[in-house]
């Protein structure tokens, strides 16, 4: 019953729809530890402690906070409800607080557990301020409500924010696990590129160089780039475009850009003149063809082609 109603405040993501995240080593270990902790709840209870149930993910836009939260929920076997702040925040005084209360009431139905995922958490939990205007008082009320409800909530909460600094300190403290997600490193970028380029694939050297040229790009941007390329492969010939390597890359880059504030990866600075572009086999082969045609010495799959399950 609860989930029918809670969908009023957010979108429900079922476990089957989750994707595997691609993470750096440190974060990976912390998450595995958390999962084990949740599963060891009875043993922990025997020594008088409870499993941590509230986590906050901090990181730049597009680093995969939602993907990760969804994956964690799926690992636990629970649906995730991604709260939409615009459905909670109301223009009427007092109603936002009421909505927050109702949302937590609905989320804490023990017969139908869920993982509550609050994206753009800073929208709900701005720093409290000395009341100089009536709107400040109202905001403080909301933050207080949120504070109490988070503290009392028995289920799982994962909050995500791009601006950790904007979150009220008292609320920040209520979260047991603070995890900062960084932009992907070289190895992660290779994996992400390979995942989103599938069913196409790149030989290891080309993959390495293109991942280097994507330094400082977020997973979301890499995904957009790969999808843009695939789109060009399909639509370009239909539109009668020049399908040469440089022209295709230039067209793809023309419509996909990193946010001006986050810094430009080299691929965008140099464009189609980047050496990584010259290293690309053209047309980009299918992943299956690469492993078959690779030289015998390099046929060790892990060294040559990144395969994803």
């Amino acid at each position: 019953m609860a989930r029918d109603d809670i969908s009023e405040f957010g979108d429900v993501f079922e476990p089957q729809e989750a994707q595997e995240p691609i993470l750096a080593r440190g974060v990976r270990a912390a998450l595995q530890e958390w999962l084990e902790e949740i599963w060891a709840e009875t043993e922990l209870a025997a020594v008088g402690i409870t499993a941590r149930k509230r986590a906050i993910f901090d990181g730049k836009p597009g680093v995969g906070k939602t993907t990760l939260a969804h994956h964690l929920a799926a690992r636990l076997g629970l649906p995730m409800v991604a709260v939409r702040p615009e459905r909670v925040i109301s223009k009427y005084v007092g109603e936002t607080g009421q909505n927050i209360g109702r949302m937590f009431d609905l989320a804490s139905n023990e017969d139908d557990p869920i993982v509550l995922f609050i994206d753009e958490f800073d929208a709900l939990s701005r720093q409290r301020r000395r009341g100089e205007q009536a709107s400040d008082d109202e905001r403080n009320e909301e933050v207080n409500t949120l504070l109490q409800r988070i503290e009392q909530h028995k289920g799982f909460i994962i909050a995500a924010t791009n601006y950790g600094a904007h979150i009220d300190q008292a609320i920040w403290r209520r979260f047991d696990i603070h995890l900062t997600l960084e932009l992907p490193g070289q190895r992660e970028r290779e994996l992400i590129t390979a995942r989103y380029l599938a069913p196409f694939g790149l030989p290891a050297a080309a993959l390495r160089s293109i991942a280097e040229s994507l330094d400082t790009a977020s997973p979301a941007l890499i995904r957009k780039l790969c999808e843009g390329l695939k789109r060009q492969f399909i639509l370009g010939p239909k539109l009668g475009y020049d399908m040469s390597r440089e022209a295709t890359i230039a067209r793809t880059l023309a419509t996909i850009h990193p946010h001006p504030d986050v810094g430009k990866p080299r691929l965008w600075s140099l464009g189609e003149r980047d050496s990584a572009v010259r290293a690309l086999p053209w047309p980009i082969p299918l992943a299956d063809e690469i492993s078959a045609s690779a030289p015998a010495s390099a046929r060790e799959p892990a060294a040559n082609v990144v395969r994803l399950r």
Binding site: E20, R28, A29, L31, E36, L76
Partner: protein, 210 residues
């Protein structure tokens, strides 16, 4: 000097005329009173005539509403309006006929009169038809969308021991099945064991390729 005098005298003359006019107005009112009219109401009518009709009607409607909310109007405004158009509100047919005027374009209103609900519908051509409303059985408690979610097909939970669950996990990893397809539900002790088996089988932590 003369100019100033001119202004002052002109102003004084107008002032005198104003006085005369006010006197004449008073005379008109006295005449009306002598003829038996209520001068207060006459003055009210004069005031109303200076307003724009739309403004006046709006104010009147609001005043009606406020007064009925305060319990000072015995008869709600709609009934009074119905009375004005000569409807006998005790007769079902005449109420239905009168309300046909209020049916919105391409819409319908349902009224309960004489114990049975009637739906008045205005079609595209503007003709209004009255139809008895047949009580339909209540719709099922949940909407189809949410029903789909709640009644999703439960996964087949294998009937196995803890160790067997772990072995199933290892096998799943070798068969290239994603880790999130764990068949055991939340709260089942076999779920972590399957997960552990999968991690052993695949050689990674399940958080994507290492």
């Amino acid at each position: 000097m003369n100019r100033i005098r001119g202004y002052v005298e002109r102003y004084e003359r107008l002032e005198a005329e104003k006085k005369d006019i006010t006197e004449e107005q008073k005379l008109v009112m006295a005449e009306a009173k002598a003829a038996g009219f209520d001068t207060k109401i006459l003055k009210h009518c004069i005031k109303v005539r200076t307003k724009k009709p739309a403004d006046y009607h709006e104010a009147q409607a609001l005043a009606d509403m406020y007064l009925s909310a305060l319990g000072m109007v015995v008869e709600p405004p709609l009934f009074r309006a119905a009375n004005r158009i000569g409807v006998d509100i005790a007769a079902r047919e005449s109420v239905i006929e009168a309300l046909k005027n209020f049916v919105p374009e391409n819409g319908s209103i349902v009224i309960e009169a004489g114990g049975a609900p009637v739906r008045l519908t205005r079609d595209k051509d503007g003709t209004v038809t009255a139809q008895d409303v047949v009580e339909r059985p209540a719709p099922p408690a949940s909407s189809p969308a949410s029903a789909g979610r709640r009644n999703r097909v439960p996964q087949d939970v294998p009937d196995v021991s803890l160790d067997e669950a772990e072995a199933l996990g290892v096998k799943a990893a070798r068969d290239n099945v994603p880790i999130i397809t764990n068949p055991f539900p939340f709260g089942d002790d076999r779920r972590p064991r399957w997960d552990k088996g999968w991690r052993t089988g695949s050689g990674n932590g399940g958080f994507g390729p290492e």
